[in-house]
């Protein structure tokens, strides 16, 4: 982990709606953006525990996170306004390895979150395929101009052609399906986390056949490392 101290206090520089999601922009402060797929713990105002988010975009001087308002913590984050301050810890965990030949980015729903920064770090010309549950959610595809988009009941995995080095992030069934199609894919998982730095043992998933902490081992894992015991964030 990068820091042994308290989370950095970062000011909100703005937020904007992207379909049903909110893109929350923070001043970067003394934090590094890290590798795509790494994550940050964001203080959720009024809540006891911070929430984990992968970095969505790294504009100059800023860190931007895509927030899906699914509960009281994420809703509080979506209500933040320019000038508000929150505590931020990171970057944490292991992100995507970028040394591949034929990248293909695959995202499902809020799993689009780490892909814009990943695309930027890969050089911007990588093909992207995205799947969403509805047209409203699919508005988030605006974060990745040029992406191919499908809407439920069409599955994003139907767009994956052989021969690519797949980077994926999305709901658990999608990741299992990607893993079955592309055994060498790099998959970004999520799990409930209280701390993000290995202290709470809350985020275990089945990795290499045993329950291990996703925050330390992942959240990006090679497809062949993950077993069945992965749970979606409530």
């Amino acid at each position: 982990m990068q820091s042994s101290g308290s989370p950095s206090r970062l000011s909100v520089t703005g937020s904007e709606l992207v379909g049903p999601y909110t893109l929350l922009r923070l001043e970067r402060g003394d934090l590094e953006p890290g590798m795509p797929g790494q994550f940050f713990m964001l203080e959720a105002p009024g809540r006891l525990l911070p929430r984990p988010f992968s970095l969505c975009l790294a504009p100059p001087g800023e860190l931007a996170f895509l927030v899906d308002p699914i509960g009281p913590g994420t809703e509080a984050l979506c209500r933040l306004q320019a000038g508000d301050e929150i505590g931020v810890l990171g970057p944490l965990g292991h992100g995507y390895r970028l040394d591949v030949e034929r990248p293909l980015l695959v995202g499902g729903g809020i799993g689009i979150a780490p892909l814009p920064y990943l695309a930027e770090r890969l050089g911007g010309a990588s093909p992207v395929v995205l799947g969403f549950r509805s047209a409203e959610y699919a508005e988030a595809a605006a974060l990745l101009p040029g992406a191919e988009v499908v809407i439920d009941p069409v599955l994003v995995t139907e767009l994956i052609e052989p021969g690519f080095d797949v980077f994926a992030c999305g709901p658990e069934p999608m990741l299992h399906a990607v893993a079955a199609l592309c055994p060498t894919a790099q998959l970004g998982w999520e799990a409930p986390m209280a701390c993000g730095y290995g202290a709470c043992y809350g985020c275990v998933v089945e990795i290499d056949g045993a329950l291990k902490r996703l925050c330390l081992e992942g959240p990006v894992l090679d497809a062949d490392r993950v077993g069945a015991h992965v749970e979606a964030v409530a």
């Binding site: 042994s4 989370p7 006891l48 202290a199 275990v204």
Partner: protein, 284 residues
């Protein structure tokens, strides 16, 4: 007043710089055999608290002693080993194999295991016979009379008390199903503080033993309140998850809180508060 971590709330090998902020590091509970722990989901946030059902995940006694403890010894922080088990002999055997640590904390109160343990006093007595290291008995406030348990473990040879462990609790999701795979878990965080302060107070009155107070300590003021109730030391648990810098912060805030309360040091706050059963009674 020393600042420790609550057992199971910090991995000193994963975050050594955070452990070094502490006056002593308390390990996750070690059991005789390895335990993979509970299936996920294991945690849930609640109003003023959180639930965990980690299930005493640990590498087991042999591997802990061979691989983990030597590395913990290199951190430069005094180490307390939290010992767990399912009968008195389990605890005593682990205690007999520990040395070169500052203290042993006997976890007599994990809410996340089903197996019935021997009585707290029996376990402490067996451990007392097995080691000369300081023994702290970690008790649950779920007992109807925690002071009675405290007296019993004191008589059995405990050198100190750790108060309190999490309390068994349940949280439901939007579909009214338990959030935790295990169904229930241990409640921690600010919701516990009033319960913990009471337990510290009555156990202090009952035994006079050194007490590590824990349960919802978020600030220096909280730590001072534990001192006022008779705690010698405090341990940080849930607060570490949101703020890994909490040990340094709480220590600094504690100094300020002493000034605000008009006491020279935290220990002096103990004279300000007595048992909630004996003070605050309005004379007839």
């Amino acid at each position: 007043m020393r600042i420790l971590n609550a057992s199971g709330c910090l991995d000193a090998l994963a975050a050594p710089d955070i452990a070094r902020q502490l006056d002593a590091f308390v390990t996750k509970t070690v059991t005789p055999l390895p335990r993979e722990g509970s299936a996920p989901p294991r945690i849930a946030e609640t109003a003023s608290g959180m639930l965990n059902a980690i299930g005493l995940a640990n590498p087991g006694r042999d591997r802990f002693l061979a691989e983990h403890l030597p590395r913990l010894g290199e951190l430069g922080v005094p180490v307390w080993v939290s010992v767990g088990g399912f009968c008195a002999d389990d605890y005593a055997e682990t205690c007999s194999r520990l040395s070169d640590i500052e203290a042993i904390e006997l976890n007599l109160s994990c809410p996340n295991v089903d197996e019935a343990a021997d009585s707290a006093a029996e376990i402490v007595a067996a451990c007392r016979a097995a080691t000369d290291l300081p023994l702290y008995a970690k008790l649950s406030a779920a007992h109807p009379d925690v002071a009675e348990v405290a007296r019993a473990v004191a008589a059995a040879g405990a050198d100190g008390l750790s108060l309190i462990n999490t309390l068994r609790a349940t949280a439901l999701d939007r579909e009214l199903r338990p959030v935790l795979a295990r169904g229930s878990g241990g409640l921690s965080g600010p919701a516990l503080k009033p319960i913990a302060l009471h337990a510290v107070s009555v156990c202090h009155e009952a035994t006079g033993l050194p007490i590590v107070g824990m349960g919802g300590v978020q600030s220096g003021r909280d730590a001072l309140e534990f001192a006022a109730c008779g705690a010698h030391d405090v341990a940080l648990g849930t607060v570490l998850f949101a703020d890994p810098g909490a040990p340094v912060r709480v220590r600094a805030e504690l100094a300020t809180a002493c000034v605000d309360a008009g006491v020279a040091k935290p220990e002096d706050a103990g004279s300000l508060a007595k048992s909630p059963e004996t003070v605050r009674k309005v004379p007839a």
